[in-house]
Amino acid sequence: MDIAILLLPEIILTIFALIVLGYDLIWPGRKAVLVTLTLVAVGLAAIGAIYTWGTNKTIMADTISIDDYGVLFKLAGLAATAMVVLLGMSYIPEGRRTQDAKRRLLAISRQGEFYAIMLFAAVSIMFLVSANSLVLIYLSIEFLSIASYILVGYLRDDSLSTEAAIKYFLYGSVTAAAMVYGMSFLYGVSGSVDLPTIAKVIAGTLPSPESLRGIVMPAVVLILAGFGFKVAMAPFHQWSPDAYEGAPTPVTAFISVAPKVGGFAVLYRTLIVALPYFHSDWGGTIAILAVLSMSLGNLVALTERNIKRMLAYSSIAQAGYILIGIAAYSQMGISSTLFYVMVYTLTNIGAFAVAIVISNALGSDSIADFAGLSQRNPSLALLMLFFLLSLAGIPPLAGFFGKFFLFTAALEQNLTWLVFVAVINSVLSLYYYLMIVKVMYVDPPESTVPLETPRPLAVAMGISAIAILVLGIFPTPLINLITTAAAALMQVSS
């Protein structure tokens, strides 16, 4: 198949990003057109991605691998982008509501950049999830990071937002440097940046690949710093609560899911394709990081009173659960990771959408503002209940099956201790998720004025709620697709 067709998603997104930029330059302030263009771009890119389903080949001098594993992650990334665009449509930046008309105008007049950068970020995710060489991995991670920094600091006259961006940038630069350093080790060992070649050279080392452990394992740890930063797992998570809090909420939703989609895709692919020989070593490292991430995220989240910070720690914990699937190096491990990443993406965006409705109406991100939501807007409260319970892993929502799947994969590899740690963590997390439920359903509302839900947000929330309900009850069709993808990747590995 022609290379141009295989790269259709990337090409479409890039062209549309430029169109969006240009259109906004010529006819500024037409939000509806910009949003339409962006959504069309994402939709076409998704069609392009689906078109390449079942291809399974490498192109561009083996730097890009077009395979089913990548396609599924691409679709997850595109879904996240589309929903965040819907979220961004109705978001009114804090401190910038009607009283400050001039500043508000400023925010609106720069709409084009916002959507263009979102599209560029999507392009970088497309490359990241199908990257097959260390160089492309590094480039696309940097690409994604830079787009994210700009989005986080998007409210440039808001000090919190700027601070968040700087912090994000500093952490990102350091971890990226560590990652490149680690990659240089792998290059030194194998003389190649191509993932399958690295595996081949390691396997063929004489007298035994064992002698390389002293170099490969430090390299893994350094590379994990870079990936760990993207997926916000402990101990590379410190930037996330501040960045989450300071960023405009739609962007928070975006950085809580999109870099995770890209990060986990590339993390698993790198370990599986390049380093299958050392799987028991990195498996142990990942298991320890999983424990760290889950426990730290959940424990700190218990004390948070700000919804964005709480969701930040919750997503650190969620990253820990996903790592379980990676620690279980197996086909089912890949499948369960893919499934959980998708479910997590949908759920988290839904939860942030509810937070946007609340902060639009009441002007704060405090959990206390959810008081009496079940009376002010029963359907909104019900949606939030769904999202929280799915994150907590309560049936029949998809979060439950996702965790069940991860645990099943881990127990196949006899990681019983890890699963016990994870279930204890799930119970811990239940406490803070239920605290929000309590605030919504038990606490009396401050006023009985009903809260309005803007339509784009309602659409986004509706899609995620239906998706997590359907995936929770009938996961089989998705599992069948995922199993195909996982089997293909596992074959490359062995």
């Binding site: 499948s335 439950f400 019983t416 119970v427 439920v437 038990v442």
Partner: protein, 486 residues
Amino acid sequence: MLTLIWLLPMIAAVVLMLMPKEQLRLIKGISIGTAFITLVISIIAYFKYDVVQGGFQFVETFSWIPALGISYKLGADGITVPMLLLTGLIIFAGTLMSSTLEDFREKEFFVLLLVLVAGVYGVFVALDLFLLLVFYELAVLPMYILIAVWGSTRKEYSAMKLTLYLLGGSAFSLVGIIAMYWAGGKHTFDMVQLATANFSREFQVFFFLPIFVGFSVLAGLWPFHTWSPDGHVAAPTAVSMLHAGVLMKLGAYAALRVGVFLLPQGAQVWLPWIVLLTVVNVVYGAFVAMSQRDMKYMVGFSSVSHMGLVTMGIATMNSIGMSGAVYQMFSHGVMTGLMFAVVGQIYKRAHTRDMPSLGGLLQKTPWMGIAFIICALTSMGLPGFSGFIAEFQIFVGTWSAYPILAAIAALGIIITAAYLLRVVYQVFFGSLKVEFEHLTDSKPIERLAMGLLVAALIIFGLLPTTMVNMINSGVAPVIARLTTGS
């Protein structure tokens, strides 16, 4: 038929959710109607179940998530059917009792109640372990909101404690269940097929504990029982009834069905130790109940004590003890549901549950008084009521398995008699206080609810044969596995 029994309440819950909240009469009507239909279904199941044939009947099955060997499989055996009948009775009485609810946010109350009921029925009829877990958590979670919104006395604390304890317990069971999926080599969650798997002895010994204890948390096993009195007290009447009456049985049921039935060698190793905990349950629960002033706490701890008898019966690992345990699950469910119904009515009218400050209520509220006295007699195990049949079997079973413990546990019976007689005396006899002169007796609809439960206590006390035979047919396969050890 079994699909209908859980699906109907679920559909009703969704329908109620879409209805305007002003249509109170209709909302209550739909709830009561649904509860009644499920009761009818459970009665039909009771009479249609073929005891001679035994085993799982009314089986429905189709493949659900084949990638993980999960199927949607329902069925009922001699243990399930009495539990269905119990659930039907309690939920019908519970919705009748709640129809006098004049609080606030009634619509949400009934929606959650129906979801809870769907979960409870689901656990009893599920034959697939994944499905069982889904229903189990579905039954526990609505509790949180039900108690936190409509409860009393430290309701938020109690609701959170209850939810964390119960879901924490089930999380441990979940690990054991997934481990069974791999260990048996069957790659299925179907209980019937897992029963034919060969689990190694080490595996059974290791995983029996998380599974059995995880589920037993819900059965109020000491020392994991502390959520239960708090939860019972905080919950609104109908929820207390369902909770003590049915929900705690889910724990014992799942512990028996998943723990003892599927991992018999693990049971043989651990149950002789767990029985010690159950004796503590029985005796300690009774002592604590004796020292309560709050009537609802008293009933709550008496539940802990009686549920101890259930787990003790299971731990005997002989036919008569286990059969008694299941009978006790039914009998205690009905009895405790009735007790909470009476306590709820008293509290609603007198606005206190402090027993020493009540007194002479029998003069004003004979219906409640008589219902409570019948409960007390059942609870003490007097012949003629269902409690006697149950406790007699349990003690015969325990005597043959652990004679010394049986003697100690019998102490619990004596204390039970002591505190119950004291309650009856303090609350219903003696002189009526001036402030309670105005008390009114139960409304007709409440009388109907109480009458139904009283009738069940007496019928199954006088004519136990049908149910005992049914339970024996359900317990037989468990005993068979325990004796052959595989």
